[in-house]
Amino acid sequence: MRRLFFAAGFSAALVQMVAVREILARAGGNEYVISVIFLVWLAGSGAGALAGGLLARRLQEPRLAFSFFLCALAVFPQFMFAAITVFFPVAAVAGVTPGFYATAAVILIAAGPYCLMAGILYPLALAVSSADEGDGAAGIYLADTGGGVAGFLLFVFLLVKNAGSAAVLVVAAVVLAAAAWPWRPRRRALMAAALATACVSVAVMFGALATAAHRAGVVERHDSGYGRVEVVEREGQTTVLLNGRPAYASRTPALAEMLVHVPASQTRNPARFLFIGAAAGMVREAEKYHPARIDYVEVDADLARILLERGLLARSASLRVTNRDPRRFVRHQAEQGGVYDVIVVAAPEPETFQENRVFTVEFFSMIRRILAPDGVFAFAAEGYENYLGPAARARFACLRATMKAVFPQVAMVPGVRTVFIGREGETRTFAIPAVLAARGIETEYLAPFFRGEVTAERLRYLEEEVGRDEAAANRDLFPVLPGLVFAGWFARSAATPVLFAVICAAFFLFVVLRLDAAEYVLMGAGFVAMAAETVAIFSFAVLHGYVYEQVGLVAGLALAGLFCGIAAGRRTAAARAGDAAALLFASDAAVVMLLAAWGWGMGRLGGGTAVCFLLVMTFAVSMLCGFQFAPAAAFSSARGRGTAGVFGADLAGGGAGVVVCGLLVAPRFGIPAALFAAALVKAAGLFTFAATRR
């Protein structure tokens, strides 16, 4: 049975990664979408575990149901893949990014049944194996988590770049089917039906794959560690799409001209350029200054290669491409004494905490260290055409406050995007066309259209509107900007996250009210484990950069901690059978203290020490959370509660941890506050448990 659950955990991890990749490629990659996927996964599995408990109690012959759900679990991912492919175009009209609720609905429809079935398996497995409930549950959970670690690491380090989604799903299905073979239905007719279903499911998946590949004009597609990159060729135009959104297109010089010439026109001798990310045509524009050096830093090597190969960035003798995390690059340059006259961040405004790290006060301070005294720093923000709406206003105010925290002079120049420039000396906005003319630099957009884009009225309006309200600067550990970007995303689809929050709150309240004290402890453990993983990933991204493998390492470490904790908990619970309550109480207290220590240490440590501290804390907190599973299951079992509730509570708690810490607390109150929230939940569990025991 444990081998089977190891395979189930392994398969589920692969399926989850494929689901995340496919959904992000269609719905855009932001923390809300990612959180909804994890929420559906965890809460769906939790609900499945509760339903499985009911089913196991009522079934006269649970083995048949068990083998049925095993078969279903092996073949359903293919249908899930097909559903993602088919329902996203249904959820939104052509060319439109589906809104939050449409996305959530598709995720629920596509992934919900799989998660429910995965959850149902736990109690059915216990019913089939008739093992001692407490230890059996912990054993299954241990095997499942171990499989999850293996699947996750395999995907992150090997499959993500080397295998398409269909291939990964086939691997997941084959592994699960092989492990489930001893549990196959004994009747030939049922077996034939199962095999036929498997064949149909594979056919469905490849049919869906054909539909997915149907986008007209796609000539190249890559799944890099940072998302899906597609190249579309149509009528002589090359467009590069990132996760389905056009990010670079040929013959669109406006943004490149703004990003290069607005800052370059402020400085006397723009000879050294640093581009962090790029817009199509930026190198060509920079070449007009005959620079000594153009450094282009792009963390995604596949993307940089495609841009150069497709001519969206010109090849030039002065161009040096570096595929490295921008923060590490800038730090390295600062250590080496590198200096630039013009530094441009051409990354999109952050929709994830990982992307946020090039828009923070800390990063801008690093930039300033490598900026020449006469140098200029610039980036562009979207959202001002003729009026600045509330979401854009808040974003602009945050960005300006972040710039002002580092640069004495900050200016905004409207156009196809609004370019923010920061420098030591004075900024000269209206002089831009004259400077370009004096230098003999011709532009297709900037100078010819300047008269209509940069007027005294528009500049005055921007200054007044952006400066009207006090805004907080965006910082590494207090990332306010992604929250403001999310607000804009909700505003565009005329939606509000309030309904989502209410639904989640009602669901979790319903679950909490039905929990026993031990189950509550486990729900808290699930909550803290997922919150800790989320915080660890956010913090690691801030400290170390958005390197997919390393973020995967953090998540793998959290799962490994969970795995070790479960193993340790099983042994301890077996050795001290009567002390389950005491073990739970002590481990709860330890979790609270660890979280407090984590919160204290965060921000006080720097460099390699901070990374080590983070990794140690991630492992330790996850281990303590895993440790609680076996004593809680034993305690719950001793009180006559089924193990289904134990599984359900843990998984539902995980879902709550993702939503509360990842979506509500971290973007609004900062990453340390998310740890504080997790500690609060655990402390509440401690008191509840103590009160119940009394």
């Binding site: 329902f87 003729n386 009026y387 007027t455």
Partner: protein, 393 residues
């Protein structure tokens, strides 16, 4: 009560069949394109969301019909919203307050700018002059690609305004040296009273009126407007009713009617068509559009083809290839349109004006700069052909 094996198998088969039939049906429909792009995004009346009493910026509507029980039908645009007391129209800025339909945005524009007239775009109307441009919150369309969605898709109370009544608009426009006042950005049809009064007053002060609109307006208000308006650019968003409904939430027929009225009433007219990949880039549709324009407005109405860029909700379509825009211009001219232009593609010869008779370059446009101007007293400097439009004397 337990479940036996037979019940379980029956239940499982039923569930699997339901999922297979339902999912298969949806998939088949989706693959045949039956589910995508079939939605009508026309807005709806906002029940009970209007104000209780008219505020400082409310003015009684010029065109509406009172119905029984204090209900009223707003008749400015073809939506003809039937409003009960307290209701807000589709446009979000016209409300029924105690049986009277009010415009809620009279004198409080949320966007005020001084723009080159070429930005509207108007290429045959006082080139190189500036237009004092105003807009209020609200629109009767729901365009997926609206670049001004933060004002057009908002209620007046959701945006920040300026207090600017018609007299002040005229005063500020004169102070700024504008040649005209443009009613633009969102949808001026929805702030009809404010536009009408301002345009009437501006005309007395020598300022021209520019209507930059989707043309979704009923004939009666449009005829009234023609008396005070000097030029119009109508955005003919598509030449297909279905596309109008799914892309913009409006209809084609009323827009065509509006074009005919503007032309016949002598308002200088230019037409804009945004070429959106997959929506409005069909050559057959283009040819039908040109044929209609030629038959109903003649060959002299300038036609602008604009390149689409991902905006607002339509953010997963690539920009229109430049070649397609240039091809559209070529086809339109081949079909008989005298003045077809390209837009949103940077500096291009397609943005220049060439005499339709002698083919010489008359107006060279480099963005908003006009380095060459060879029209004298409204005629080609080379062959003397009259060039349609309003030109500086």
């Amino acid at each position: 009560m337990g479940i036996d094996r037979r019940d379980f198998i029956k239940g499982s088969v039923a569930l699997a069949s339901a999922i297979a039939v339902g999912g298969g049906g949806v998939w088949l429909a989706a693959r045949r394109g039956l589910l995508s792009r079939s939605s009508d995004i026309t807005g709806h009346v906002f029940r009970g969301q209007g104000p209780d009493s008219p505020g400082e910026f409310a003015r009684e509507g010029m065109f509406y019909e009172k119905m029984g029980g204090k209900s009223a039908v707003c008749s400015h645009c073809p939506h003809r919203c039937r409003l009960a007391p307290g209701d807000l129209g589709i446009c979000r800025n016209r409300a029924n307050i105690n049986g009277v339909v009010y415009s809620l945005v009279y004198g409080n524009p949320c966007s005020v700018n001084l723009d080159p007239v070429e930005k509207k775009p108007l290429f045959h109307f006082l080139p190189a002059t500036t237009a004092f441009s105003i807009a209020t919150a609200g629109c009767n369309f729901r365009c997926l690609n609206c670049q001004n969605w933060e004002i057009s898709q908002r209620r007046p109370d959701e945006v920040r305004h300026r207090r600017l009544f018609p007299e002040e608009v005229v005063r500020e426009a004169q102070k700024a040296g504008a040649a005209s006042i443009a009613y633009t950005y969102s949808e001026p049809v929805t702030f009809f009273e404010y536009m009408f009064d301002t345009a009437s007053l501006a005309r007395n002060h020598g300022l021209r009126g520019l209507l930059i609109s989707n043309g979704y307006i009923n004939p009666e208000p449009l005829l009234a407007l023609c008396r005070v308006m000097d030029a119009a650019n109508i955005n003919l968003k598509a030449f297909d009713e279905t596309t109008y409904r799914s892309l913009d939430g409006g209809g084609l027929a009323p827009v065509l009617e509006a074009l005919k009225i503007l032309h016949s009433e002598g308002v200088h007219l230019e037409v804009t068509h945004l070429v959106i990949p997959g929506y409005t880039d069909g050559v057959d549709e283009l040819k039908r559009m040109c044929a209609w324009l030629l038959a109903n407005l003649g060959p002299d109405v300038p036609l602008h083809f604009l390149r689409f860029f991902p905006r607002y909700r339509l953010d997963r379509l690539e920009p229109t290839p430049v070649r397609v825009i240039e091809e559209f211009r070529r086809i339109a001219m081949e079909e008989g349109i005298h003045y077809a232009y390209t837009g949103n593609i940077g500096i291009s010869t397609g943005a220049n004006t060439w005499c339709h008779n002698c083919g010489k370059l008359l107006v060279e446009r480099k963005g908003y700069l006009i380095p060459v101007m060879e029209i004298r007293k409204g005629r080609c400097r080379y062959c003397g052909t009259r060039i349609p439009g309003v030109w500086p004397s």
